[in-house]
């Protein structure tokens, strides 16, 4: 359930092949940003949060699979997290940075498609998750926090605060909800 009492699910979408975007981000962060010197891997996932009256997990997965509004099964895989206790496709040691385009999180086309297919009104939101792993002994949450928000050429990368918000998380227990998280709680999450 989301805070508003609606049913909620998260869908994590990741490229099956190597992600050039993540590879470039890893190279640039390691090479140019002090906070990223001990970064060992970067993964990029798109995350959808659906809120409203939702069908069973099997139907949910089938619907997401069928619509091009969510992902392309020929080149991406999707992991559905239908309850907070369920796992998400992250490693426990990964520090997560969710990036949202402020005010543009909603996906009206996805909502229209869902209504057309199921007759149900759901809210669909989308963000990008950067999963960062560091060398052992590094404070992953702190370093990820330093890399999250661009400040200048030497500090930060993943979100430009002038039009994007970012919210932290850990691979062991990604926030639930995450995109729809009240702004105050999202700020409190920051390292």
């Amino acid at each position: 359930m989301s805070p508003g009492g609606k049913q909620m699910a998260q869908a994590y979408v990741e490229l099956v092949a190597e992600d050039a975007e993540a590879t470039s981000a890893l190279a640039i962060v390691r090479g140019r940003l002090a906070a990223g010197r001990r970064l060992t891997s970067v993964r990029r996932l798109r995350v959808f949060e659906l809120a409203g009256t939702l069908p069973s997990r099997a139907q949910l997965e089938a619907l997401l699979h069928r619509s091009t509004r969510f992902y392309n099964p020929a080149k991406e895989r999707c992991t559905v997290r239908a309850a907070e206790r369920e796992s998400a496709p992250f490693r426990p040691e990964e520090a997560l940075v969710l990036v949202l385009d402020r005010g543009l999180e909603r996906r009206p086309a996805g909502e229209r498609w869902w209504k057309h297919e199921t007759g149900e009104k759901v809210e669909v939101r989308e963000g990008t998750v950067w999963a960062l792993a560091f060398e052992p002994g590094e404070d992953a949450a702190a370093r990820a926090g330093e890399l999250a928000e661009v400040q200048d050429r030497r500090h930060g990368l993943f979100a430009n605060p002038h039009f994007q918000d970012w919210r932290p998380g850990t691979g062991a227990s990604p926030p639930w909800p995450w995109i729809e998280r009240p702004r105050k709680r999202a700020k409190e999450d920051r390292p």
Binding site: A20, S24, I28, R32, Q151, D152, R153, L157, N160, H162
Partner: protein, 295 residues
Amino acid sequence: MSESTRARGSARVAIVQFPGVNCEAETARALARAGLEPELVRWTRPARDLAAFDAYVLPGGFSWQDRVRAGALAAKDPMLDELAARADAGAPVLGICNGAQVLVEAGLVPGNGGVEGRRPAPGAGPRDEVRVALARNRMPERTGYYTRWVWCRVEETQCVFTRAIEPGTLLPLPVAHGEGRFASAKKGRIAALAEAGQAPLRYAHADGALAEAFPENPNGSEAAVAALCNARGNVLALMPHPERAATLGQVSRAIGGDWGGRRERALAAGDGSAFGDGPGMAIFHGLARFFAVHA
């Protein structure tokens, strides 16, 4: 202008190309047409090579395929440190479309100082704080990449590239981008920059009134800003593509008024006059004039 440039009689302009940039050829043609001496400098060359040039242009395209965010990865390249140093020394730097996104992500535009008067602490070294963004277009009933010809009104500023153009002049120029909306987390910052003379070009209607709404303002940019420069006026982040409007024949049929009339007459004449200067050349001639004055 350097001694060697003075001896040659024309300024050397580096066209800085990162992987994915695709407007370098037409940018080079426009610079040469203005009497400047363009040379392509790819990202594989040492950043120190840039020191030999008098001015710099970052052309349009998709540097690093827009990975992470348009301009975000190129902004971390050592070449941007060199460009920042050259800009501090007064060298003109122009970023067109993706080049503008790189300059904004690198903090060269609007740069330090300016309306908020902030500069790095002594001894802190060059620290160009990122103070604005080129955010995703905000358009009614649509998202993503958008292209059209727009009217840009020249404002009275000290920008190297536009200060020789009569304020109020309207230039029809093409835009083509998905992230072109000047925005800032600080409310009113973009308008304040415009008020302070750091917005040399603003989106306008054909009658010259500022365009706040789509489609004349093609991306929802605050204060109808189409270009921002630093406080000194020598670094310009320009979203429209002047190099795609370098000749009269390139002007869109959707454009009327004086420019439209000139295009029609030139095409009808069939005498090659369609290859005469188009509206975009004003920007490149502005750069050439800067060197003519400072030679």
